[in-house]
Symmetry: C2
Subunit: 272 residues, 2 copies
Protein backbone atom coordinates (compact mmCIF):
# COMPACT_ATOMS: atom_id res chain seq x y z
CA UNK A 1 0.00 0.00 0.00
CA UNK A 2 1.29 3.47 -0.81
CA UNK A 3 2.42 5.64 2.08
CA UNK A 4 -0.40 8.15 1.61
CA UNK A 5 -2.99 5.35 1.58
CA UNK A 6 -1.54 3.77 4.71
CA UNK A 7 -1.83 7.12 6.46
CA UNK A 8 -5.43 7.74 5.38
CA UNK A 9 -6.42 4.20 6.32
CA UNK A 10 -5.15 4.43 9.90
CA UNK A 11 -6.44 7.97 10.39
CA UNK A 12 -9.92 6.77 9.39
CA UNK A 13 -9.77 3.50 11.31
CA UNK A 14 -8.63 5.06 14.60
CA UNK A 15 -10.50 8.28 13.87
CA UNK A 16 -7.40 10.17 14.88
CA UNK A 17 -4.91 12.80 13.73
CA UNK A 18 -2.87 12.29 16.89
CA UNK A 19 0.77 11.26 16.78
CA UNK A 20 2.47 10.55 20.09
CA UNK A 21 6.10 11.58 20.20
CA UNK A 22 8.26 9.07 22.03
CA UNK A 23 11.12 11.22 23.38
CA UNK A 24 11.95 9.08 26.41
CA UNK A 25 14.30 11.03 28.66
CA UNK A 26 15.56 8.62 31.29
CA UNK A 27 15.76 11.46 33.81
CA UNK A 28 11.98 11.92 33.56
CA UNK A 29 10.82 8.30 33.78
CA UNK A 30 8.60 7.11 36.62
CA UNK A 31 11.06 6.07 39.34
CA UNK A 32 9.63 2.57 39.75
CA UNK A 33 10.71 1.70 36.19
CA UNK A 34 14.39 2.32 36.88
CA UNK A 35 14.79 -1.18 38.34
CA UNK A 36 13.68 -2.70 35.04
CA UNK A 37 16.41 -4.17 32.82
CA UNK A 38 15.30 -1.82 29.99
CA UNK A 39 13.50 1.12 31.64
CA UNK A 40 13.12 3.18 28.46
CA UNK A 41 11.86 0.26 26.40
CA UNK A 42 9.40 -0.73 29.11
CA UNK A 43 8.18 2.87 29.46
CA UNK A 44 7.58 3.26 25.71
CA UNK A 45 5.96 -0.14 25.21
CA UNK A 46 3.54 0.37 28.08
CA UNK A 47 2.54 3.76 26.66
CA UNK A 48 2.08 2.21 23.22
CA UNK A 49 -0.06 -0.62 24.62
CA UNK A 50 -2.24 1.95 26.40
CA UNK A 51 -2.69 4.30 23.43
CA UNK A 52 -2.37 2.49 20.09
CA UNK A 53 -6.11 2.58 19.36
CA UNK A 54 -6.08 6.38 19.78
CA UNK A 55 -3.33 7.41 17.38
CA UNK A 56 -2.44 7.42 13.70
CA UNK A 57 1.31 7.47 14.32
CA UNK A 58 4.19 7.28 16.76
CA UNK A 59 7.17 9.55 16.21
CA UNK A 60 10.37 8.19 17.74
CA UNK A 61 13.06 10.76 18.40
CA UNK A 62 16.36 9.07 17.60
CA UNK A 63 18.41 11.37 19.82
CA UNK A 64 16.79 9.98 22.95
CA UNK A 65 17.68 6.41 21.97
CA UNK A 66 21.22 7.31 20.85
CA UNK A 67 21.72 8.94 24.24
CA UNK A 68 21.41 5.46 25.81
CA UNK A 69 24.55 4.27 24.05
CA UNK A 70 24.76 0.74 22.75
CA UNK A 71 21.69 -0.33 24.76
CA UNK A 72 19.67 2.26 22.84
CA UNK A 73 19.91 0.21 19.69
CA UNK A 74 18.13 -2.83 21.12
CA UNK A 75 15.70 -0.59 23.03
CA UNK A 76 14.72 1.08 19.77
CA UNK A 77 14.19 -2.29 18.08
CA UNK A 78 12.08 -3.44 21.03
CA UNK A 79 9.92 -0.29 21.02
CA UNK A 80 9.31 -0.60 17.29
CA UNK A 81 8.26 -4.22 17.75
CA UNK A 82 5.61 -3.07 20.25
CA UNK A 83 3.88 -0.85 17.68
CA UNK A 84 1.02 -2.52 15.77
CA UNK A 85 1.95 -2.75 12.07
CA UNK A 86 -0.96 -0.64 10.82
CA UNK A 87 0.21 2.41 12.83
CA UNK A 88 2.59 4.76 10.99
CA UNK A 89 6.05 4.95 12.56
CA UNK A 90 8.15 8.07 12.04
CA UNK A 91 11.90 7.92 12.64
CA UNK A 92 12.54 11.50 13.69
CA UNK A 93 16.23 11.73 12.85
CA UNK A 94 16.36 14.80 10.57
CA UNK A 95 19.22 13.32 8.57
CA UNK A 96 20.68 15.04 5.53
CA UNK A 97 23.98 14.21 3.82
CA UNK A 98 25.55 13.57 0.42
CA UNK A 99 24.13 10.73 -1.62
CA UNK A 100 26.21 7.73 -0.54
CA UNK A 101 25.98 8.73 3.12
CA UNK A 102 22.26 9.46 2.92
CA UNK A 103 21.86 5.98 1.44
CA UNK A 104 23.51 4.52 4.55
CA UNK A 105 21.21 6.48 6.87
CA UNK A 106 18.16 5.47 4.87
CA UNK A 107 19.14 1.80 4.97
CA UNK A 108 19.58 1.95 8.71
CA UNK A 109 16.24 3.68 9.37
CA UNK A 110 14.02 2.17 6.69
CA UNK A 111 15.50 -1.32 6.13
CA UNK A 112 17.13 -2.22 9.45
CA UNK A 113 14.72 -0.51 11.87
CA UNK A 114 11.86 -0.71 9.33
CA UNK A 115 10.42 2.72 10.09
CA UNK A 116 7.48 3.53 7.82
CA UNK A 117 8.80 7.07 7.40
CA UNK A 118 11.49 9.50 8.51
CA UNK A 119 12.09 13.21 8.92
CA UNK A 120 14.78 14.71 6.67
CA UNK A 121 16.65 17.99 6.44
CA UNK A 122 16.90 19.17 2.84
CA UNK A 123 19.58 21.89 3.21
CA UNK A 124 21.89 19.73 1.04
CA UNK A 125 19.30 19.36 -1.71
CA UNK A 126 17.78 16.64 -3.84
CA UNK A 127 20.45 13.93 -3.68
CA UNK A 128 20.38 14.13 0.13
CA UNK A 129 16.63 13.38 0.12
CA UNK A 130 16.38 10.79 -2.68
CA UNK A 131 17.45 7.70 -0.69
CA UNK A 132 14.60 8.35 1.74
CA UNK A 133 11.92 8.46 -0.98
CA UNK A 134 13.02 5.74 -3.38
CA UNK A 135 10.61 3.21 -1.88
CA UNK A 136 7.00 4.29 -2.57
CA UNK A 137 5.81 2.52 0.59
CA UNK A 138 8.07 4.63 2.81
CA UNK A 139 7.40 8.29 3.57
CA UNK A 140 9.69 11.24 4.22
CA UNK A 141 8.77 14.46 6.00
CA UNK A 142 11.01 17.30 4.89
CA UNK A 143 11.64 20.08 7.41
CA UNK A 144 9.87 23.20 6.19
CA UNK A 145 8.92 25.50 9.09
CA UNK A 146 10.03 24.29 12.49
CA UNK A 147 8.42 24.98 15.85
CA UNK A 148 11.49 26.35 17.64
CA UNK A 149 12.70 29.90 18.18
CA UNK A 150 15.59 29.51 15.74
CA UNK A 151 13.21 28.80 12.86
CA UNK A 152 13.33 32.49 12.03
CA UNK A 153 17.09 32.58 11.51
CA UNK A 154 16.96 31.12 8.01
CA UNK A 155 13.56 29.60 7.15
CA UNK A 156 11.86 32.99 6.76
CA UNK A 157 14.57 34.60 4.60
CA UNK A 158 12.99 35.79 1.38
CA UNK A 159 14.50 34.74 -1.94
CA UNK A 160 12.81 35.54 -5.26
CA UNK A 161 9.90 37.01 -3.33
CA UNK A 162 9.12 34.04 -1.11
CA UNK A 163 10.54 32.65 2.11
CA UNK A 164 13.06 29.81 2.09
CA UNK A 165 10.52 27.35 3.45
CA UNK A 166 8.31 27.94 0.40
CA UNK A 167 11.26 27.04 -1.81
CA UNK A 168 11.56 23.82 0.21
CA UNK A 169 7.85 23.13 -0.38
CA UNK A 170 8.22 23.77 -4.11
CA UNK A 171 11.16 21.36 -4.43
CA UNK A 172 9.45 18.74 -2.28
CA UNK A 173 6.40 18.86 -4.55
CA UNK A 174 8.66 18.46 -7.57
CA UNK A 175 10.46 15.46 -6.08
CA UNK A 176 7.19 13.77 -5.11
CA UNK A 177 6.87 11.36 -8.04
CA UNK A 178 6.20 8.44 -5.67
CA UNK A 179 3.60 10.38 -3.67
CA UNK A 180 5.38 9.72 -0.41
CA UNK A 181 6.70 13.13 0.64
CA UNK A 182 5.27 15.25 3.44
CA UNK A 183 6.47 18.35 5.28
CA UNK A 184 7.20 19.26 8.89
CA UNK A 185 5.49 22.48 9.94
CA UNK A 186 5.54 23.60 13.57
CA UNK A 187 2.19 23.97 15.38
CA UNK A 188 3.50 27.23 16.81
CA UNK A 189 3.41 28.77 13.28
CA UNK A 190 -0.32 28.80 12.29
CA UNK A 191 0.11 31.44 9.59
CA UNK A 192 2.85 29.43 7.91
CA UNK A 193 0.85 26.22 8.36
CA UNK A 194 -2.09 27.76 6.50
CA UNK A 195 0.23 28.83 3.70
CA UNK A 196 1.89 25.42 3.41
CA UNK A 197 -1.50 23.69 3.24
CA UNK A 198 -2.48 26.05 0.38
CA UNK A 199 0.74 25.25 -1.45
CA UNK A 200 0.57 21.49 -0.89
CA UNK A 201 -3.15 20.67 -0.65
CA UNK A 202 -2.83 16.89 -0.92
CA UNK A 203 0.37 16.18 0.99
CA UNK A 204 0.69 15.01 4.60
CA UNK A 205 1.91 17.51 7.15
CA UNK A 206 3.69 16.43 10.32
CA UNK A 207 2.91 19.10 12.89
CA UNK A 208 4.85 19.02 16.15
CA UNK A 209 4.45 21.60 18.88
CA UNK A 210 1.04 21.13 20.50
CA UNK A 211 1.11 20.29 24.18
CA UNK A 212 4.29 21.37 25.97
CA UNK A 213 5.36 23.73 23.17
CA UNK A 214 2.01 25.53 23.26
CA UNK A 215 0.67 25.27 19.71
CA UNK A 216 -3.07 26.05 19.34
CA UNK A 217 -4.90 22.78 18.56
CA UNK A 218 -7.88 24.54 17.00
CA UNK A 219 -5.78 26.47 14.50
CA UNK A 220 -3.62 23.44 13.78
CA UNK A 221 -6.65 21.31 12.88
CA UNK A 222 -8.24 24.10 10.88
CA UNK A 223 -5.16 24.97 8.83
CA UNK A 224 -3.26 21.67 8.87
CA UNK A 225 -5.86 19.27 7.43
CA UNK A 226 -6.70 18.65 3.80
CA UNK A 227 -10.26 19.29 2.56
CA UNK A 228 -11.42 15.98 4.07
CA UNK A 229 -10.11 16.86 7.52
CA UNK A 230 -7.25 14.37 7.15
CA UNK A 231 -3.52 14.23 6.27
CA UNK A 232 -2.45 16.29 9.27
CA UNK A 233 -0.35 14.30 11.74
CA UNK A 234 -0.40 16.32 14.91
CA UNK A 235 2.34 15.40 17.35
CA UNK A 236 2.36 15.81 21.11
CA UNK A 237 5.19 14.33 23.14
CA UNK A 238 5.86 15.54 26.68
CA UNK A 239 2.25 16.47 27.56
CA UNK A 240 1.22 12.86 26.95
CA UNK A 241 4.13 10.63 27.85
CA UNK A 242 4.85 12.49 31.10
CA UNK A 243 1.19 13.07 32.02
CA UNK A 244 1.96 11.26 35.29
CA UNK A 245 5.30 10.41 36.83
CA UNK A 246 3.86 7.64 39.00
CA UNK A 247 2.90 4.01 38.62
CA UNK A 248 -0.22 4.95 36.65
CA UNK A 249 1.80 6.70 33.94
CA UNK A 250 0.41 4.58 31.09
CA UNK A 251 -3.21 5.15 32.10
CA UNK A 252 -2.49 8.87 32.50
CA UNK A 253 -0.92 8.91 29.04
CA UNK A 254 -4.06 7.22 27.67
CA UNK A 255 -6.29 9.81 29.30
CA UNK A 256 -4.17 12.68 27.93
CA UNK A 257 -4.07 11.12 24.46
CA UNK A 258 -7.80 10.49 24.47
CA UNK A 259 -8.53 14.08 25.50
CA UNK A 260 -6.18 15.40 22.82
CA UNK A 261 -7.69 13.22 20.11
CA UNK A 262 -11.22 14.24 21.13
CA UNK A 263 -10.29 17.90 21.11
CA UNK A 264 -8.86 17.53 17.59
CA UNK A 265 -11.97 15.65 16.46
CA UNK A 266 -14.27 18.35 17.86
CA UNK A 267 -12.52 20.85 15.59
CA UNK A 268 -12.62 18.43 12.64
CA UNK A 269 -16.41 18.19 13.12
CA UNK A 270 -16.62 21.96 13.19
CA UNK A 271 -14.44 22.76 10.17
CA UNK A 272 -14.77 19.77 7.81
CA UNK B 1 43.18 24.45 25.27
CA UNK B 2 40.68 26.23 23.02
CA UNK B 3 39.50 24.42 19.92
CA UNK B 4 41.18 26.84 17.54
CA UNK B 5 44.49 26.48 19.39
CA UNK B 6 44.26 22.70 19.38
CA UNK B 7 43.76 22.81 15.63
CA UNK B 8 46.68 25.17 14.98
CA UNK B 9 48.95 23.14 17.25
CA UNK B 10 48.39 19.83 15.46
CA UNK B 11 48.50 21.41 12.00
CA UNK B 12 51.92 22.84 12.86
CA UNK B 13 53.23 19.75 14.62
CA UNK B 14 52.29 17.33 11.83
CA UNK B 15 52.81 19.98 9.16
CA UNK B 16 49.52 18.97 7.67
CA UNK B 17 46.13 20.25 6.54
CA UNK B 18 45.02 16.73 5.71
CA UNK B 19 41.98 15.16 7.32
CA UNK B 20 41.25 11.54 6.53
CA UNK B 21 37.59 10.70 6.31
CA UNK B 22 36.75 7.36 7.87
CA UNK B 23 33.65 6.25 5.93
CA UNK B 24 34.17 2.51 6.29
CA UNK B 25 31.78 0.71 3.95
CA UNK B 26 31.90 -2.96 4.85
CA UNK B 27 31.26 -3.85 1.22
CA UNK B 28 34.56 -2.20 0.24
CA UNK B 29 36.85 -3.61 2.93
CA UNK B 30 39.84 -5.79 2.03
CA UNK B 31 38.41 -9.33 1.96
CA UNK B 32 40.96 -10.76 4.39
CA UNK B 33 39.57 -8.53 7.17
CA UNK B 34 36.09 -10.02 7.00
CA UNK B 35 37.16 -12.93 9.22
CA UNK B 36 38.07 -10.47 11.99
CA UNK B 37 35.61 -10.16 14.90
CA UNK B 38 35.33 -6.41 14.19
CA UNK B 39 36.34 -5.88 10.54
CA UNK B 40 35.41 -2.20 10.39
CA UNK B 41 37.15 -1.36 13.66
CA UNK B 42 40.26 -3.25 12.60
CA UNK B 43 40.27 -1.55 9.19
CA UNK B 44 39.99 1.94 10.68
CA UNK B 45 42.50 1.39 13.48
CA UNK B 46 45.11 0.03 11.10
CA UNK B 47 44.66 3.03 8.82
CA UNK B 48 44.95 5.35 11.81
CA UNK B 49 48.12 3.66 13.03
CA UNK B 50 49.63 4.01 9.55
CA UNK B 51 48.72 7.67 9.04
CA UNK B 52 48.37 9.55 12.33
CA UNK B 53 51.68 11.45 11.92
CA UNK B 54 50.48 12.76 8.54
CA UNK B 55 47.13 14.33 9.44
CA UNK B 56 45.61 17.10 11.50
CA UNK B 57 42.25 15.37 11.87
CA UNK B 58 40.12 12.32 11.30
CA UNK B 59 36.50 12.79 10.26
CA UNK B 60 34.27 9.87 11.22
CA UNK B 61 31.07 9.56 9.24
CA UNK B 62 28.43 8.41 11.71
CA UNK B 63 26.19 6.89 9.01
CA UNK B 64 28.75 4.20 8.28
CA UNK B 65 28.90 3.15 11.92
CA UNK B 66 25.13 3.32 12.42
CA UNK B 67 24.78 1.04 9.40
CA UNK B 68 26.49 -1.70 11.44
CA UNK B 69 23.64 -1.80 13.93
CA UNK B 70 24.36 -2.35 17.61
CA UNK B 71 27.93 -3.47 16.85
CA UNK B 72 28.60 -0.07 15.31
CA UNK B 73 28.45 1.59 18.69
CA UNK B 74 31.35 -0.37 20.15
CA UNK B 75 33.22 -0.17 16.84
CA UNK B 76 32.96 3.60 16.94
CA UNK B 77 34.24 3.70 20.51
CA UNK B 78 37.12 1.42 19.54
CA UNK B 79 38.09 3.53 16.52
CA UNK B 80 38.05 6.72 18.59
CA UNK B 81 40.29 5.07 21.18
CA UNK B 82 42.86 4.36 18.41
CA UNK B 83 43.23 8.05 17.57
CA UNK B 84 46.06 9.86 19.41
CA UNK B 85 44.58 12.55 21.68
CA UNK B 86 46.34 15.46 20.00
CA UNK B 87 44.64 14.75 16.65
CA UNK B 88 41.31 16.54 16.08
CA UNK B 89 38.34 14.18 15.78
CA UNK B 90 35.28 15.29 13.83
CA UNK B 91 31.98 13.50 14.36
CA UNK B 92 30.41 13.98 10.96
CA UNK B 93 26.76 13.58 11.90
CA UNK B 94 25.21 16.81 10.54
CA UNK B 95 22.68 16.88 13.34
CA UNK B 96 20.18 19.71 13.77
CA UNK B 97 17.07 19.67 15.95
CA UNK B 98 15.17 21.71 18.55
CA UNK B 99 17.03 22.64 21.72
CA UNK B 100 16.29 19.70 24.05
CA UNK B 101 16.88 17.16 21.28
CA UNK B 102 20.04 18.90 20.07
CA UNK B 103 21.27 18.71 23.66
CA UNK B 104 20.83 14.93 23.60
CA UNK B 105 22.73 14.61 20.32
CA UNK B 106 25.52 16.85 21.62
CA UNK B 107 25.84 14.82 24.82
CA UNK B 108 26.09 11.61 22.84
CA UNK B 109 28.74 12.92 20.42
CA UNK B 110 30.79 15.23 22.65
CA UNK B 111 30.46 13.66 26.12
CA UNK B 112 29.87 9.97 25.47
CA UNK B 113 32.00 9.49 22.35
CA UNK B 114 34.24 12.46 23.26
CA UNK B 115 34.57 13.81 19.75
CA UNK B 116 36.59 17.04 19.69
CA UNK B 117 34.13 18.51 17.19
CA UNK B 118 31.05 17.77 15.10
CA UNK B 119 29.36 18.88 11.91
CA UNK B 120 25.96 20.53 12.33
CA UNK B 121 23.11 21.55 10.06
CA UNK B 122 21.80 24.99 10.97
CA UNK B 123 18.50 25.02 9.02
CA UNK B 124 16.67 25.12 12.37
CA UNK B 125 18.67 28.11 13.61
CA UNK B 126 20.56 29.18 16.71
CA UNK B 127 19.00 26.97 19.39
CA UNK B 128 19.71 23.90 17.25
CA UNK B 129 23.42 24.81 17.15
CA UNK B 130 23.99 26.08 20.72
CA UNK B 131 24.37 22.70 22.48
CA UNK B 132 27.27 21.89 20.14
CA UNK B 133 29.20 25.08 20.95
CA UNK B 134 28.62 25.54 24.67
CA UNK B 135 31.96 23.97 25.56
CA UNK B 136 34.82 26.20 24.31
CA UNK B 137 37.10 23.19 23.94
CA UNK B 138 34.73 21.51 21.47
CA UNK B 139 34.30 22.72 17.90
CA UNK B 140 31.34 22.72 15.53
CA UNK B 141 31.49 22.96 11.74
CA UNK B 142 28.27 24.40 10.37
CA UNK B 143 27.25 23.31 6.87
CA UNK B 144 27.62 26.29 4.55
CA UNK B 145 28.30 25.19 0.95
CA UNK B 146 28.32 21.46 0.41
CA UNK B 147 30.22 19.49 -2.21
CA UNK B 148 27.27 17.59 -3.69
CA UNK B 149 25.09 18.30 -6.71
CA UNK B 150 22.07 19.21 -4.55
CA UNK B 151 23.97 22.10 -2.93
CA UNK B 152 22.48 24.39 -5.56
CA UNK B 153 18.88 23.60 -4.67
CA UNK B 154 18.81 25.93 -1.66
CA UNK B 155 22.28 27.10 -0.60
CA UNK B 156 22.67 29.48 -3.55
CA UNK B 157 19.24 31.10 -3.25
CA UNK B 158 19.70 34.85 -2.90
CA UNK B 159 18.02 36.64 0.00
CA UNK B 160 18.69 40.33 0.72
CA UNK B 161 21.25 40.31 -2.08
CA UNK B 162 23.36 37.41 -0.88
CA UNK B 163 23.13 33.63 -1.12
CA UNK B 164 21.72 31.58 1.74
CA UNK B 165 25.15 30.19 2.62
CA UNK B 166 26.40 33.73 3.29
CA UNK B 167 23.55 34.19 5.74
CA UNK B 168 24.71 31.00 7.44
CA UNK B 169 28.25 32.41 7.61
CA UNK B 170 26.99 35.69 9.08
CA UNK B 171 25.01 33.92 11.81
CA UNK B 172 27.86 31.54 12.55
CA UNK B 173 30.21 34.49 13.06
CA UNK B 174 27.69 36.11 15.38
CA UNK B 175 27.28 32.93 17.48
CA UNK B 176 31.05 32.45 17.74
CA UNK B 177 31.58 33.94 21.22
CA UNK B 178 33.61 30.87 22.31
CA UNK B 179 35.73 30.92 19.15
CA UNK B 180 34.94 27.33 18.37
CA UNK B 181 32.81 27.53 15.22
CA UNK B 182 33.96 26.60 11.74
CA UNK B 183 32.19 26.02 8.43
CA UNK B 184 31.89 23.18 5.95
CA UNK B 185 32.63 24.28 2.38
CA UNK B 186 32.92 21.73 -0.41
CA UNK B 187 36.21 21.47 -2.30
CA UNK B 188 34.20 21.29 -5.50
CA UNK B 189 33.13 24.95 -4.98
CA UNK B 190 36.36 27.00 -5.21
CA UNK B 191 34.59 30.29 -5.94
CA UNK B 192 32.40 29.91 -2.87
CA UNK B 193 35.38 28.77 -0.81
CA UNK B 194 37.24 31.96 -1.69
CA UNK B 195 34.21 34.02 -0.71
CA UNK B 196 33.74 32.21 2.61
CA UNK B 197 37.42 32.69 3.50
CA UNK B 198 37.01 36.43 2.81
CA UNK B 199 33.94 36.57 5.04
CA UNK B 200 35.45 34.50 7.86
CA UNK B 201 39.19 35.16 7.71
CA UNK B 202 40.07 33.62 11.07
CA UNK B 203 37.73 30.65 11.29
CA UNK B 204 38.50 27.03 10.47
CA UNK B 205 37.03 25.59 7.29
CA UNK B 206 36.35 21.89 6.89
CA UNK B 207 36.68 21.18 3.19
CA UNK B 208 35.52 17.78 1.94
CA UNK B 209 35.57 16.75 -1.69
CA UNK B 210 39.20 16.32 -2.79
CA UNK B 211 40.11 12.85 -3.98
CA UNK B 212 37.15 10.79 -5.20
CA UNK B 213 34.85 13.82 -5.52
CA UNK B 214 37.38 15.63 -7.70
CA UNK B 215 38.02 18.93 -5.90
CA UNK B 216 41.15 20.81 -7.08
CA UNK B 217 43.77 20.62 -4.30
CA UNK B 218 45.66 23.68 -5.53
CA UNK B 219 42.60 25.93 -5.45
CA UNK B 220 41.46 24.49 -2.13
CA UNK B 221 44.78 25.29 -0.46
CA UNK B 222 44.98 28.72 -2.07
CA UNK B 223 41.45 29.80 -1.15
CA UNK B 224 40.77 27.71 1.95
CA UNK B 225 43.69 28.68 4.20
CA UNK B 226 43.99 31.71 6.43
CA UNK B 227 46.85 34.19 5.85
CA UNK B 228 49.29 31.85 7.63
CA UNK B 229 48.45 28.93 5.34
CA UNK B 230 46.53 27.23 8.17
CA UNK B 231 42.96 26.65 9.46
CA UNK B 232 41.88 24.71 6.38
CA UNK B 233 41.05 21.09 7.18
CA UNK B 234 41.03 19.34 3.84
CA UNK B 235 39.27 16.00 3.86
CA UNK B 236 39.83 13.03 1.59
CA UNK B 237 38.08 9.75 2.29
CA UNK B 238 37.72 7.12 -0.39
CA UNK B 239 40.92 7.97 -2.32
CA UNK B 240 42.95 7.23 0.83
CA UNK B 241 41.16 4.53 2.77
CA UNK B 242 40.49 2.41 -0.32
CA UNK B 243 43.86 3.10 -1.98
CA UNK B 244 44.37 -0.67 -2.00
CA UNK B 245 41.85 -3.43 -1.46
CA UNK B 246 44.48 -5.99 -0.54
CA UNK B 247 46.51 -6.98 2.50
CA UNK B 248 48.72 -3.90 2.15
CA UNK B 249 45.76 -1.51 2.47
CA UNK B 250 47.21 0.40 5.44
CA UNK B 251 50.56 0.98 3.75
CA UNK B 252 48.74 2.05 0.57
CA UNK B 253 46.63 4.45 2.63
CA UNK B 254 49.81 5.88 4.14
CA UNK B 255 51.34 6.39 0.71
CA UNK B 256 48.18 8.09 -0.57
CA UNK B 257 47.95 10.27 2.55
CA UNK B 258 51.61 11.21 2.36
CA UNK B 259 51.30 12.18 -1.31
CA UNK B 260 48.18 14.23 -0.59
CA UNK B 261 49.79 16.04 2.34
CA UNK B 262 52.91 16.77 0.31
CA UNK B 263 50.83 18.10 -2.57
CA UNK B 264 48.98 20.40 -0.17
CA UNK B 265 52.25 21.54 1.39
CA UNK B 266 53.75 22.32 -2.01
CA UNK B 267 50.89 24.74 -2.61
CA UNK B 268 51.21 26.18 0.90
CA UNK B 269 54.88 26.90 0.16
CA UNK B 270 53.85 28.59 -3.07
CA UNK B 271 51.01 30.75 -1.79
CA UNK B 272 51.87 31.52 1.87
Amino acid sequence: MSFYNRLRTIQQRNNSLLCIGLDPDIAKLPPHLLNHSDPVGEFCCRIIQATSDLVCAYKLNLAFFEALGQQGWSTLHRVLSCIPPEIITIGDAKRGDIGNTATMYAQSLLDDFKFASTTVNAYMGEDSVRPFINNPEKGAFILAVTSNQGAKDFQYLKAKGKPLYEHVIAKGKKWNNHKNIGFVVGATRPGQLKRVRQLAPGMPLLIPGVGAQGGDVKLVVRYGCDTKGEMAIINASRSIIYASGGEGFAEAARAAASAMRDEMNSYRAKFF
